[in-house]
């Protein structure tokens, strides 16, 4: 027990990585065994991450130095040279959400991907994405962050192009990888700038000695824009609709969490690394502007889409805007203690709560879209109709996801949105009004999807359509259950997960103190 917690950070990354490497060998023994292997390994990872998170939430930051003679020896001889993994409440929250979505998606794809070739690579890459996400959120080292970012874009880029029979997936993947590679190289350039000045790579140690020179500011700009690119904020969002639209449905649901992991990196850099900078509120304002643009442009473009997955991809952009807005408001007032305690903290909590909620309802919506595609074989909303007759359970799940993304009570989307609305209103009423307007437009565009896909008389061409298989229903059902649970008991989620995470973001000294 204590062994797993002690080695938790390393095990959480290593177990899915090892499983990914072994998947091609195991799939020689048969398809069923391979799927069982992938699901079991992800479940084991989830157990490790849950145990680790419980420990982190109760007893504070946990560090792990790879290859050291004792795990907590991060600075041999007083110099932080080792590769360090550092897990605080914020990382633990992101780790939990990444692994849970990956596990559910894996269960879902045991049915959904059955008819395709090359599944050993699919599962290997899925496990590798999980490992890279956990690495990105658990790492305490800037260069490692770059490595995991590249690992993430390589493995997810390969999965975006999984359908090789057509040209569009390859094109989307090409754009995705070019964009990710350019962004990641800018991260590396920023790491070079920081290393050249301080001879340090560890985030905690760097934050302790940062002087905020001009070069540091260039590094900050490079980091912030690269991570904003990876999380898909307008005007850097164009790859999102291509990649989300053309990837296989399970991969799309994972890609949502992948963007959230980049969002984590953005928050980690701007709060922990640069939190003490005098002009950090400029970055907060930049986040607010990016957030408002993402919200509005994302939702208006979503309304005109005809392809169900591209529509949902634009909604993902729009919802990312809420998180950027919430956390950006917190960052903009970080120097002002009174404002921070009266509404800044709530804004950050709302933004982080929205990260969890978004991963859940967006995952559910993409999985229901997958159920529609699985049975009808089309993504075009103009060709769909009357599916509620044949797929009642999927329809229910879709309604839950739809009401949640539109921010209707009592679902979880509303809980986080009301925290954002009320705290942002105290900061600037106009921003809050835009956020509410975007929510209305979100509902409008999902009503359109609901009407054209599910309502109406039964269509002749879909008379053989049945409910989807059990494995897919289980994955969707678990997500729907947690949406309702988080919707009905938001205070417990905020108290146990979100508030520690927000405090971990704000309390920079805690993160720094463990390293030096």
């Amino acid at each position: 027990m204590s062994f797993i917690v002690e080695h938790g950070p390393a095990l959480a990354i290593a177990v899915p990585l090892m499983a990914a490497f072994a998947t091609p060998l195991i799939s020689r023994a048969g398809g069923r065994l391979r799927e069982l292997w992938a699901v079991l390994c992800l479940a084991a990872t989830l157990v490790i991450v849950v145990m680790l998170s419980m420990d982190v939430l109760s007893s504070g930051v946990r560090v792990y130095a790879l290859g050291a003679s004792i795990p907590s020896l991060t600075s041999p001889g007083g110099f932080p040279i080792r590769i360090v993994l550092e897990v605080d409440a914020m990382s633990a929250m992101m780790g939990l959400i990444s692994v849970s979505i990956a596990l559910l998606v894996c269960i879902y794809s045991t049915q959904y991907m059955k008819k395709y070739q090359g599944l050993d690579k699919f599962y290997a890459l899925l496990l590798m994405i999980t490992s890279a996400m956990l690495g990105l959120v658990f790492t305490g080292d800037l260069f490692n962050m770059f490595v995991f970012l590249e690992l993430l874009s390589v493995s997810s880029g390969a999965l975006v192009a999984f359908y090789m029979g057509r040209g569009e997936p390859a094109e989307a993947a090409f754009k995705y990888v070019i964009i990710s590679a350019t962004g990641a190289l800018m991260v590396l350039l920023a790491v070079c700038f920081l290393y050249g000045q301080y001879n340090l790579l560890s985030i905690g140690a760097l934050a302790g000695v940062m002087q905020f020179t001009f070069l540091d500011k260039i590094a900050l700009v490079l980091l912030v824009s690269a991570f904003a690119l990876k999380c898909g904020a307008v005007p850097l969002h164009m790859w999102v609709s291509d990649a989300y639209g053309e990837a296989p449905v399970p991969v799309t649901a994972v890609l949502v969490v992948v963007s959230q992991a980049s969002l984590y990196a953005l928050f980690r850099v701007s709060f922990t690394l640069y939190g003490a900078m005098a002009t950090i509120s400029v970055i907060g304002w930049a986040m607010i502007i990016l957030g408002i643009l993402s919200m509005f442009i994302g939702v208006t473009l979503a309304m005109m889409q005809r392809d169900i997955k591209r529509l949902m991809a634009y909604h993902a952009i729009s919802q990312t805007g809420y998180m950027l807005l919430g956390v950006g408001v917190g960052l903009a007032v970080i120097g002002d203690v009174g404002a921070l305690s009266s509404y800044g903290m709530t804004a950050i909590e709302g933004g982080l709560f929205h990260v969890i909620n978004h991963a859940m309802y967006k995952g559910l919506l993409f999985l229901t879209a997958g159920a529609i595609i699985y049975r009808t074989g089309t993504r075009d909303l103009n060709k769909l109709g009357g599916l509620a007759h044949a797929m009642p359970v999927t329809t229910c799940f879709f309604i839950i996801g739809m009401l949640s993304i539109a921010g209707l009570p009592p679902f979880n989307g509303f809980s986080s949105k009301i925290m954002i609305y009320e705290s942002v209103f105290m900061f600037s009423p106009v921003l809050s009004i835009i956020a509410i307007l975007v929510s209305i437009l979100t509902l409008a565009s999902f009503v359109k999807v609901f009407q054209s896909a599910f309502l109406g008389p039964k269509r002749r061409e879909y008379k053989d359509v049945k409910e989807v298989p059990v494995a897919m229903l289980i994955a969707m059902g678990i997500l729907a259950f947690f949406i309702i649970l988080f919707g009905l008991l938001p205070d417990l989620a905020v108290q146990w997960l979100i508030e520690p995470a927000a405090k971990a973001l704000l309390n920079q000294l805690n993160y720094v103190g463990v390293i030096v």
Partner: protein, 112 residues
């Protein structure tokens, strides 16, 4: 701080970025990202260089001044990653060429 290697690195990065932005051929775009990666590798190596330093593998070194080992490890890692990414982008370019018969980035298919 500003010296010749750093200026050279900035110039090469600009060349790479302009190739990615202004070239229409997909292979040339891939070359652009490779050029950026090489420039950053050059930057890393020149960061770790110390005038007159020795290789950091001696136990009884003749002088104490050593070239920093960490940037070299970082450079190796980044070369490996760059190799994987480049191979992947080129594979995608091959698939795109097979399906569309053209490598022009402006002959676009996905939009809006």
């Amino acid at each position: 701080m500003i010296s010749l290697p750093f200026l050279a690195v900035m110039v090469i990065i600009s060349i790479g970025l302009s190739a990615v932005i202004f070239r229409r051929n997909l292979v040339k775009i891939v070359m652009g990202t490779s050029i950026i990666a090489s420039a950053i590798n050059l930057f890393l190596v020149s960061l770790g260089y110390r005038e007159g330093g020795v290789a950091p593998i001696f136990t009884g070194a003749p002088r104490l001044e050593m070239v920093l080992p960490t940037p070299q490890a970082l450079t190796l890692t980044s070369i490996v990653i760059d190799l994987a990414v480049t191979a992947m982008m080129l594979s995608f370019a091959i698939i795109i060429y097979r399906h569309y018969g053209s490598l022009d980035s402006r002959k676009r298919r996905l939009r809006e």
